[in-house]
Amino acid sequence: MADFDAIVIGSGCAGPVAAHELAARGKSVLVVERGNYCGAKNVSGGRLYTHALADVFPDFLEDAPLERRVVRERISMLAPESGVMVEFTDEQMRRPGVESYTVLRAKFDPWLASKAEAAGAEYINGIPVEKLLKTGDRVTGVKAGDDEITAEVVLLCDGVNSLLAEQAVGAPRPARSSVAVGVKQVIELPERVISDRVACADGEGAAWLFMGDPTHGRVGGGFLYTNKESISIGIVATVADMVDSDVAIPQMLEDFKNHPAVAPVIAGGTVVEHSGHLVAEGGYDAMPALVGDGVMLAGESAMMCLNAGYTVRGMDLAIAAGMHAGRSAADALDAGDTSAAGLAGYVKALDGSFVMNDLRTLRHFPDFMEHTPRMFGTYPDMAAQMMRKVFLVDGSGMKPMRKVMWPMIKKVGLLNLARDARKGMKAV
């Protein structure tokens, strides 16, 4: 007889939701989280799309520690001295089910964990799981500190840098091309100042992605999210491309903060935290097996993350995966079969959900990004040059637009431009 019906490793987004679903079905659940409090080891950009959270906790708006509702989507292409920005705002961004909010994980994760605890899940904090206990190929529990604890099923929700996924399902260490390194700072500013700088009411704000100069032309980009009384700003760069960069990533962030399009947004702010995190960017083809005998993977431990260029999502995928994992684990426990075959309901449920649908839809996007370096240097520079011709007036006399633009297009090559556009359209 095992100590618990289920052990959940990690209390980020997937873990507590899975634990909540299991506990709600009357199962005994232990959550082992290596942070001294939930969220202590966790970082995201970050913005949370709430549709998946609403499926599990319909009343989340009552007490979830959310920062600001995102009502301005901004994308900027930066050249060293200039920027071209597209902004989208829409009343639909305030619609339940579509709403997205910025979050800070050290505040959000304890709230999510409290929901699992309220449903009856037990928590151990401050202890990393060293290894999984196995009998043959079957996972039977965990070793954490001096304790060996057994369960009928173990759920790996331990994040992108899982040291256990290999032991669980034979997943190799992620390749350099399927992960990106993120560096981020939280910069405090008064609430009203932030609202004014992104032209929003208090309680609402912006999600802002940047490409080009922030990564000095490397594959990746910059991001800026407005929180209630702080701004999250950072760089994400694909590891495979970053390893031979001229500039180290902490310097990239410093340069990004000093860019003339960015500096005024954070001016006068106080840096209060400097963080780093890996981002799973390999997409569908980088995912490991989702179940093994006695074990399931949910969230970024299974590389569940989407980068579409114009938006990055991980938390809503993790929450949905945690929900399906918890429910399917409870079904398997009821049926008395937590082998890989018994847990297959999870794979099926996930397959029919937006999680696998969206990962499949963007399956070719990681490859497109990696093999289209012009996206990160040539095109942002070209956009800047074109805008200069359009908007700067020095009295030297206007030239017909076609004569101004054609040489710039020719420089890149019409064929290259058409080819990249076609590849890009196919990838998204």
Binding site: A40, K41, G126, N161, V181, V247, E254, L278
Partner: protein
């Protein structure tokens, strides 16, 4: 694309000083291989978001893991090479994000 504009050198130690850590003195959770390959060590210099991997002007390699952000990037790049051991800090130890 290269940008040759003047930049302000980052003082990453000052930023790390803002973070909260429980430092496990004398028990680093990352261990370097003896005499790491310089080319691979330079990759770590570029990707570490905490700037922990350093090479002095006379070519001496160093890394102090007390300021580690526990992201795992160096594990992806160099485990089995320049990075001999990568594990999580011991119970109760390491970074404690207050914002995340």
């Amino acid at each position: 694309m290269s940008t040759n504009k003047e930049t302000t050198p980052v003082n990453v130690d000052a930023y790390l000083g803002l973070n909260k850590y429980e430092v496990d003195e004398g028990n680093p959770h990352i261990e370097l291989a003896p005499n790491p390959d310089m080319a691979q060590f330079m990759e770590l210099v570029r990707v570490c978001p905490a700037g922990l991997y350093r090479v002095s002007p006379d070519g001496q390699q160093s890394a102090d893991f007390a300021g580690c952000l526990e992201c795992g990037t160096c594990r992806i790049v160099a485990q089995g090479g320049a990075v001999a051991v990568w594990r999580f800090p011991a119970a109760m130890m390491g970074i404690e994000y207050r914002y995340g």
